[in-house]
Structure formats: C-alpha cells, structure tokens
Amino acid sequence: MNTFIALLVSGAVSGAVYSLLAVGLVLQQTALRIFNFAHTAVAFSIALLYYELTTGLGWPVPLAVAVAVLVAAPLLGLVVDAVLFRPLRDADDATKIVATVGLLIALPALTLFLVETAVDTFGADIPRGDNITYPPGIGPTPKHVWHLTDWLHVDSNQTIVLVSAAVIAAGLWALLHRSRLGLRVRATVDRRQLAEYRGVDTRTTSRLVVLGSFALAGFTGVIGAPFFSLTPASFTGLVAVGAAAAVLGSLRSMPLAFLGGLLLGVAQSMFSGYARFADSVHGAASALPYVLLFAGLFYLARDRGRIASSVAEARLPPDHLAGLAAWRRYAPWTAAALALYLFAQFGADDYWLTLIVQGLAFCMIFLSFVLVTGLGGMVSLAQAAFVTFAALVFGLCLSHGLPFLLAALIGVAAAALLGAVVAVPALRLGGLALALATLALALVGDTVLFPWEALSNGEYGWTIPRPTLLGLDLADDRVLAGVLLALVALACAAIGALRDSPSGHAVTAVRSAPAAATSVGISAAWAKLRIFTVSAAVAGLGGIMLATVNQSVSHTSLDAMTGLGWLAVVVLFGIRRPAGAVVAGLFFAASPEILSHVTSSTRIRDILFGLGAIQLAKAPDGIVTQISGALAGARRRAQRRARLDTPGDGAGGAVPARAPGVGAHADGSEPAAVGGLAAARDLAAVRDPEVDASMPGDPLTTTGPGDARADGPAVGPAVGPAVGLRLRGVRAGYGAVEVLRGIDLVVRRGAVTVLLGANGAGKSTVCAVIAGGLAPTAGAIELAGADVTALPAHRRVGHGLAFAPESRGVFPALTVTENLALALPRGVDASGGVAAVLDRFPALAARRRVAAGNLSGGEQQMLALAPMLLDPPRVLVADEPCLGLAPRISARVLELFAELAAAGTAVLVVEEKARHVLDLADEVAFLDLGRVAWSRAAGDVDRDTLADAYLTGAP
C-alpha cells in the first residue's frame, strides 16, 4: 500500500506536467483549430530563456518568471499568430500540421542560435544552451524535501508543479466559464463566423488565446524543466506525451485532457513499479505513452467518426506550366537530369559523387512525401520509420543469403505493410489523427521495434554489400549514381502517372471536395489507404537505396525526429510535385557542405528548414513552384510584349495567365468531381494578381458602373436617417467567379424589405457582404448613412446591424443563458437583459441551462431573435429565417420582424420562397444573376409578376 501511494503521488507530479501540456494543446486545438506541434518547442524556448536569465544573468526568480512567461512568451505568441496561425486559419489539416512541425524544428534551433550568438559573437557571460540537465525551477535550489512519512517524500519542485497545475486548471475553467472574455472565446470556438456577426472581435479573441496558451506553454516549461534535461530532444519528445493526454480528452475537453495527463503520469509510474513483463521487453516502459496515444486514437475511432479538425478543402497546386507544350515542361528537368548525370560521371570528385548518390537516395525517400502529402493530402510523421524498417528487413534478408533484389522487394513490402497497419484505423479519423498515429508509430519504432535484436542485429546493424546487377557493378559510385538517377526518374514518371490514374483522381477528388467525392461513390478511406501504403513502400525503397549507398544500416541511424526534419525540407522545396522532392533530396544531401561555406553555426540548417515549412502557411507550393511561377510570369510578360509587337497574332496565342485552379481545370486533367464551388474556393484562396488584372478585359464579366439597371431602387438624393441600409453597386464573388454584379438596394427604417431570388441568385452572398463575412470587390455598404464597407463583421454590430444567418444564429455548445448574454446589445445590463428576455419567452426560460444545440428549430430561431427586442437594432438582415420551420412557428418569427419594423428597425428578409413573407413586406426586390432585377412596393407585386420573375428572370 505504501508503495502504491508513493507511486500514485509521484505519478501525479509527472501527470500534472503532462496535464498542463495537454490543456494548452486542447485550448489551441479548439479555439484556433490548430494542433500546435510546436507547443513543447515554445515550452523549451521559454524555459531556456528563464534559465539564462536566472542562472546566466543572476536575475531574481520572480522577475525572470515575469519576463519569460508574461512578456517573452506572449510576444512570441504574437509573432507566431501573425506569421503562422492567422494565415493558417482556413488552411487544410496537412498545411497546419506541416507548418507547426516546421516551427517545432525551427524554434528551439533559433533559440539556441541566439544564445550561442550572444556567447560567441557578443561575448555574453551566460551558459551555452546545451547540456542543461536538471536546471533550477522557480523553487529553492537545491530543492527542499519534506519527509511526510518514512516512505513518502515530496520536494519543493514537485509541490510547485502540483499546486500550479491545480491553480491553473481552476483558473482557466473560471476564466472560460465565468467571464465575458471566456464567453467570447467559447462562442468563437463554437461558431466563429456567427461570433463575428454577434460583434465578437474573433481576431482579438484568437490572439488572446494564443497569448494565453504560449504563456501557459512557457510556464509549463519553466516549472517542468527541473524534472528533465533542458534539451530540444527531450521537449520535442514531450509533444507526443502531451498529445496522448490530449487525445485521452478527445482533443476537445480541457478537463478531460487534464485528467488524461494525470492518468498518463500515474499509469507510467504504476507500469514502472508493477509491470514485471516490462523487464523483458526492452523499451516497453519508454514506449508506454506512445502506445497509449495509439490506444487513445483507436478508442476515439470507435467512439466517433472523425476527430474535430478543419474540413477545409485542399487547394490544388498552381500549374504555372499549364500553357506549355509537353517538351517545354519536361525539357528543363531532362536537361538538369542529364547535367547531373554528366557531372556525376565525368565531373564530380569522390566527395561530390558521394553527396550525389546519397542525395538520389534521399530523392526517393522525399518522393514518398510527395505521394502522401502532396498528392494524398495526408501528413505522415513516420516516413523515417518506414525507411528504417524496410532497410532493416532488407539487411536481415541479405544476411540470410537472399538475393539482393528479392531482399529489396521484401523490405519494400514490409514497409508497405507497416504503413497499412497504422493507416487503416487512423485514416477514418482524419488528417490530424493520422499525423498523431504516425508520430506514435515512429516513436514506438524507435523505442521498441527497431532495437529488437533479431531485426536490427543490435547496435551493429547490417552491412549491405553492393552487388553486380545485370552487369552493373554497384560498388562503383559512378555506376550507382546512374542507376539511382534512373530509379528516381522512373519514380517521378510513375508518380505523374499515378496522379493521372483513377486512383490519383479519386484522391484529388477526396481532398478537394470530400462530400462531392463521396456522393459520386469514391471511398475516401480506401483511396487514401492506397496512396498511404504506396508512399510507405516508396519510403521503404528509399531506405533500401540509402542503405545500399551507405553499405550499412542500423536502428540508430535515423530517429523519429529526422522524419520531421525531412518533411520540413521537402515542404521548403515543394511537396506538391516530384520536382520539388528531387531538388530537396539533392539539396538535403549537399546542404551541410553548401552551408559550411556560409556559416559555422550548426543550427542554421534546422532554422532554415523549419522556417521553410512555416513559409508554407503563405506559399504552399515550395520554392520550385515559386521559381516556376516567376518564370511563367516573365514568360507571360514577354508574350504580351510579343503580341503587341505583332498585332493580330494574339488570338491564336498560348492561353495567357490563368488562375491556378482554372488552369488545372482547363487542361482537363482534374476530375469532374471537383465541382465549380471547389474551384471557386481555390480561387478565393489564391488571389493571383494576374487574374485581377485580366478581369476588366474579359467580355463576360465586364459591366461598367453605368450599367446599373434603370428600374432599380432609388439611388439618388440621400434619404438621411430614414434609410437603414444601402448597397451601392456592390460586386462580390469568390475569386474569379463573380456572384454579385452590381447590387443597388435600399432598406428603409421602419419597413420590411423582402429580397427574393431563385436558388443561386446570390442571396446568401448579399447577406454575407452586408454582414461583413465577405469583402466586396467594388461598391459600398452603408448602415444608417455610415459607410461600413471597410469594417470587419464585428464592428458593423456597433453600427446597429444585426444579422440572423440561414442556419440559426445560435451557438449550439453554449447554454440558452450564455447565448442570450452574448447576443444582448451593448449597453444592456447582462443579467437584467437575460431576465427580461426570459420573461417574455417562457419556453426559453424553462430551458435556460440547456445547450442551444438541443433546442428545436423554432426555439433556436426565437433564441437568436429575442434579444433584439430589448434594444431594436437599426438594421436586421435575416437569411431565410423560416427555412425548416413549421408554419405556426414561421408566423411567430414574422411577427417578430413586424414588431421590430414598428420599432424603427430596417428589416431585410432574404427568402427564396415568396409565400410566407409577402404579407409582411413593405418593399419587394428580386435578385437575379447577381443583380437586383426589379424592386417595387409590395402592393404592386402580384403572383404573375413573381411567376414571371422566377421563370424568366424578367419582371
């Protein structure tokens, strides 16, 4: 019993550290939709800063804590938010994972580089950042020990961790559930866009979350550092442990994640204390958290379809060469390959030759990233494990006398099998789960599987003799270079073919429009599983090539973190295309040599590669494609000049610059399942200036300002305060697809204007433009005479705008009371206001503690609109308010609108079906193909007019 209690207490201390990490991870995952793999890198950097301030500069502890945790960590958060998190907000899973993994690599290296520069260049008298074991915490040094009983001892550092964890957990809970700020954060987490429509400045809210979680990470690092070495490796390893705890909390619930961390710590402690079998399985105790991470993911898979993560559709890579002939696309690469071959055969000295053959092996490994991430849209953090596993199996087979090619085949198959084993359960859970599962696999491989003597031949590994195959003596580096170059070229061609095959199309379809792909019968999981398995096999082949090049393989040659570094390098050069991976492979092998001429710092490589991955947040296509884009730009300019030189020749010329997505579609290579909307979003995301520039010349979209319809609503003399909302010549759309093509509309105060339109007319786009969810490309929006065109959504609320979006304006995860508190206009006393609304709507009062998501549709609509009655807004825009409601409830909703209009609100009701709303309307406008086709007083609208409008688009 004594042992049990002692183990429990000590496990709780480790668990508390894990808990704090997990809570930080979950906070960011829920509030920012980003699983921050760099969370522990932040902890490391801040802990190192604290160490340098106290041990190095002798600052007093409270001052150092304040500067490190309350100043430096939030500042770091501000920077990371600006350069990484905010640009990534709407990115797909893969992009987010890769970018934060890049930060995980770059941040510790950058911190150490700064410390080393301070010491070496500026002569600062502080410790260099390496080899810091058991640094002092915030407690006394040496630590104080309390002997509670003969067998139970607690020291000051342990106490600090336990108390801090409890205080932070309680404080965070109170902050989130008992403060206005917490309410806003939770509203943002729940429905970001709606929160903005409710006047919440979500950018600021998100930024506060980032600052808070960075400070939390920093503090965790400072109080956790005394328990382990202050090295990047030990902290980066901790991210998997934190992730395990977070997964035990479903990656959603902070209290559960906290509990998960504690459980993990106690489980580790008990396992070490009691599990006897662990003595015979080497690495079992070390691997426990990773195994639990696996188990947690599988448990979640059983529990639920998908781990909450972004479902953003992936963008297709720009194809700057889309307009070029085949030979022009291939020629530069063929020439480069030829040049490389000639250099290897005749030019390179032994050293460069070695770098080239190694680089070619890395090319193959990196091509596996192009498959899994570039093509498949998944992030695998286990590529290094596939490389090692295949090479070890290969070596094992060779040692048993199997022929070289057969051994290689078995090695590749082994890697593919291992890939399938991880991917089958994880794929169902989405991209983040796959990344975490592969990280767990890589770490389990490092700790248990690969050191297994029978597989690895212990520390010695296997010696790989280079054979003579088909008369080619591979022992000669020059011959090997030729063979490897041919293999890499073949692999590039095969990847191109795969991309154009039905499997490739299926995966592209699944990535860019999952729902559409599923609806046409493409199985997302099956398509992705195939790509993932092939990628594991290619990585395995690369591993076999590398082992052949090095003539040796051992389980210590690579570790899991190497795989993360590779990912960053490939991303830097371009993970979407084989060419990027090939350049990355060659550069990676040569980089130590190249960089040694530039800098003596050993950190630069990590910093460079890590920052490269972060760059992905802004330019997802890597250096190679950017260069290709720059060349394409030059080409276009030259072509334009050429056309000016030779008038009349332009019509038959090459297709000029197209927006990336359009280019891809135009060449017919993308599957039909990638619908128009996906293309539109592609374009929305990639603003190519060339597109904008070319627009005015496009006859399809040209509509001069003078083109406004003469019978449109009165646009003329200012109507003063009587006008609640005015749209002037508003144009908007998604990228190159223009949806609104010059909207003019006036909504008077005290009146109800109904905007009708058929499906696809642009009704929801009008709403989004008015509410601030979509920026117009031209025109102006005025609220009560004030031009709000440039204002973000949350600031339009201050101008008296209320917006009821189509899908009910409630936060499903917040209670009725919380929804009301958030929706109440500024200046209305929260508790009094809530009480007033509940008085008026007894149905809501009865369910005040119920989460809004559990209310009926009618109750939800009431909940969304009720607060407006307390202080009627100047303008109310309701998007299909009666959709899906019973007629009786619809009538009540419409009564509310009438009541608001009577109170002076300018009400704009946007509807597809006229039946409900015509009785209510004072004005009716009809939207057709992005323009207001007509607008007139409700009395002048009869059934025939409407029928004509819907059927012909004409009044």
């Binding site: 042992t3 002692a6 207490v9 000590s10 496990g11 410790p127 390496d130 080899n131 074991t133 058991y134 040496p142 328990f227 382990f228 070495s229 490796a233 030990s234 442990v241 662990a278 690495g283 105790a285 070390s286 691997a287 958290p289 889309a322 307009g323 070029l324 002939a325 696309r329 530069p332 020439a335 480069a336 040049a339 005749f346 030019g347 000295d349 032994d350 050293y351 070695t354 770098l355 700790t447 050191p451 212990g458 010695y460 590994g461 590039c492 191109g496 003539q551 040796s552 051992s554 210590t556 040659s557 690579l558 130590p592 050993t602 080409r635 030259a638 050429a642 038959g652 010329g653 297709v655």
Partner: protein, 437 residues
C-alpha cells in the same frame, strides 16, 4: 510534368529565341564542367594523407550536442600532436592536424564529415572520433577506405571483435559484442573499499544496449566478490519526470532493505535523477557511476551537485585531480596550444586518443601506408602508458577490438570537487562465462 497540348506549340521557333532553353542547358553543362575542373584535384601519388614530410590527420567529435557533447575535444588532440611535432615529428614526418569537425552527435552528420575528411581533405586518419554519432555506417565506410580512427571504445565500430577493423578505442572496447569479457576494475576497487559481500543494486536503462551493459557490470561485481541483489534494465530512456518506482525498488532490493552500494549503468539524466531520489528517500549507502566525472559539471548546477554528493565515479582515464607526471604533461601540452583552455572531459579524452595514435604511428614505421598500419597495429601492438604514472591503461590490439583496457581510476564527489580515491588500477579482464552466477 504532365503532357498537354496547347495552341502555343506552333510557334516554338520563336519560343526558343525568346526563352533560350538551349542556352540554359549549355549553361548547366558548362557549370558541370567548371565544377568538374574545380572538383577533381589531381590524384596524388602515395597513400592518402601521407607525404614525405607530413601526415594529414583530422578529427570528428560531438563538440556540441543536445546532451552536452565533448567541448574541448578539438584542443586535446591538437595539443598532443603539436607536442609530437615539437619533438621532431614521427618517423621523419610532422603531423598536419586540420582540426576537429562537430558532428553534433548525429549519425548522418558524422557520416557526411567522414566522407568529407576522406574524400576532400584526404586525411590519413581521424583522431579523435568521439561521440555517439560514429555509427556503423561511418565505421564500415572507414574500414572499406582503410582509414584509422581512435575513439572512446563504446561504439560498435570500435568493438569489431575478430574483424579487427580500422576503428580503435583508446581504452579498447568497453562493451564487447555479446558481453563476453569484463574489466574487473569496474568493480574491484570499490568492493575492495566497501568489503567483499557488499550487497549491490545495479540500475540500468531500458534498452537492448544497456542490457548487455548490465550483464557486463553485474559480472564485474560478482567477480569482485559482491552480492548482487538487484540488476534490472528498466529505466526509460525517454522523458522521465519522476523516478519513484525505481527508487522504491532499489530501496527494498536487499530483502526489503536498501543495498550497500547502488551502481548506475544508465544515461546521465537517469543517473542523476535516481541518485537524487535515493538521497531523498534516506539512502545512506554508497553510490557508484561511470559517467559523472566531467570537470566543471559540479560548479554548474546545485541540484546536480546535491544529487551526486558522496557518489563514487569510476573513470577509464586518470582524473586531473590526482596530479603527477602524466597530468602535468597533459596540462602543459594543452596550455601550449591555448593558455586559457579548460581541462574538459573532451579535451582530456581526445588528448589520450592522440597519445595512443602517436604510439601507433611510431610502431607503423617510416613506410607508412594504411595497409602497413593495419599489418602492424592489428598484428601485434601494445600501447604503453607513461611508466611513472599511467594516464590511461595499457591496451593491446587486435585484442582491444574485443576487450577493454583492464583498468580504471576512482574519485568521490565531495562538495563541488572530485576527491581522488584510487589512481589507475589494472585488475585484469575475465571472461563473463567464467564468473560464478
């Protein structure tokens, strides 16, 4: 990379004029030729790195690494080679020492530096080769290229056994493949001090490598007459926040009571962590480890110093605290290179590695080729330490590829200093199989 028909093809002649692809290709080829011209430095006559008057030697070490590495490893070898040059060189040649490259204890970096040293810098040998980055890929390559190196003897390459490769450990091979032979001085000096029959608990890491190490250490203590009551390789090598389970197990390992001596065969962090835990739990017996002798360590961290108080440390070289002829010589040599240099673990060890290599070169004679070096050193060679005061133990090759130098020194941590306990003492190696269980 996808073929595509386009209206632009008809005007390809003008495209060529405007976008001089051929010029690009020509440029690339030209680049290749230039690089070729730069790259191929004409082949030299004679063996790599050896001229009539000089021998080129480079070093590779973990000067920095996440776990601290061996700063100063560049100074020690340089100091020893410069002394050899001052004394007239070796067999009529001076040593041209090109310095130590930092592999950061990473295998891939080590391999790249090995390639560079051999192919670009054309070194005859690599001394020191210090750190865990020296993986089989590097040692296999150096064997194939016949490039000798001297390191610490804890990497597989230096434990090549019967294959007698080109990688040497200055103290032989600490942990022979298959745990066949053990250096009894790992245990004898401390057991002589504590008394035969002392109960011993051996704490070891949870890895395959440490399991072999555990067998070796256990055999040493059994051979020295100790009673081993606990020997487990189960301490995780990953992040470990608390050591209570292991402390508990050790504290009750002698029939519910603490043992007389706890021995660590584990990573630094685990050694320090469990030592601290034992102190906290009121452990009063002796502690011994093999890794915490590192000048400067005890001034660095109060917590580490507190954790290690009273610990014995067994080393494979003579700690400078003993003073005497060997230490004076070492100190003078290093001061001659850099008066401000610190006598770090890296500096001391790389000095002895160079000392071993100088004797090897002397033995190989004037007709120096890799083959001749192999014939002599892997034929029959014995390093003889300073007679008046051995700085490290004597070691013979080829036997040293499969067994350690049978010696060690002992210090004890008191306050922030290492107190000499027993100087280099050689008690011999015994086959593990011969040790009674």
């Amino acid at each position: 990379m996808r073929p595509r028909s386009t209206p632009g093809t008809s005007r390809w002649t003008r495209d060529i004029r405007r976008y001089p692809l051929l010029a690009n290709v020509a440029g690339l080829v030209a680049l290749a030729v230039v690089a070729a011209a730069c790259g191929s430095s004409g082949g030299s006559d004679g063996p790599r790195g050896v001229t009539d008057t000089s021998i080129t030697i480079g070093g590779i070490a973990a000067l920095t690494s996440a776990s601290g590495g061996y700063p100063g490893a560049d100074i020690g070898a340089k100091a020893r080679f410069e002394r050899a040059n001052r004394e007239g060189g070796i067999n009529g040649r001076t040593i041209s020492y090109i310095g130590v490259s930092d592999d950061q204890e990473a295998g891939d970096t080590n391999l790249q530096l090995v390639h560079k040293a051999v192919q670009r810098d054309k070194v005859f040998a690599i001394v020191p080769m210090l750190g865990a980055g020296f993986l089989p890929a590097s040692s296999d390559y150096l064997n194939a290229q016949k490039v000798p190196s001297v390191g610490w003897g804890f990497m597989p390459g230096q434990c090549s056994g019967d294959k007698a490769g080109f990688a040497f450990g200055y103290n032989g091979c600490i942990q022979p493949p298959g745990a066949t032979v053990v250096n009894t001085s790992l245990a004898k000096p401390i057991i002589d001090r504590l008394g035969a029959g002392t109960t011993v608990a051996i704490v070891s890491d949870d890895s395959a490598n440490s399991t072999d190490g555990l067998k070796t250490v256990r055999a040493a203590f059994l051979a020295a007459g100790a009673k081993v009551v606990y020997a487990k390789a189960n301490v995780p090598t990953t992040e470990k926040v608390d050591y209570t389970p292991f402390v508990q197990a050790v504290m009750t390992s002698d029939d519910g009571a603490p043992p007389g001596l706890v021995v660590f065969n584990s990573l630094f962090a685990n050694t320090v962590g469990i030592s601290a835990g034992l102190h906290t739990a009121g452990y009063k017996g002796a502690l011994l480890n093999y890794i915490t002798y590192s000048p400067g360590l005890l001034e660095g961290s109060a917590d580490i110093t507190a954790a290690l108080q009273g610990s014995y440390v067994s080393t494979q070289f003579l700690p400078t605290e003993f003073g005497g002829d060997a230490i004076t010589q070492l100190t003078d040599d290093i001061k001659a290179v850099d008066p401000n240099a610190k006598l770090t673990l890296g500096a001391i060890q790389s000095y002895w590695m160079a000392d071993v290599f100088v004797q090897m070169l002397q033995a190989a004679g004037r007709d120096l080729t890799p083959e001749r070096f192999d014939e002599v050193v892997n034929g029959s060679f014995t390093y003889q330490p300073t007679a008046s005061q051995p700085g490290i133990g004597p070691i013979s090759f080829p036997a040293g590829h499969g067994e350690p130098a049978p010696c060690s020194a002992l210090v004890q941590i008191e306050g922030t200093s290492y107190q000499p306990v027993s100087p280099m003492t050689c008690t011999g190696n015994v086959p593990i199989a011969s040790v009674p269980r």
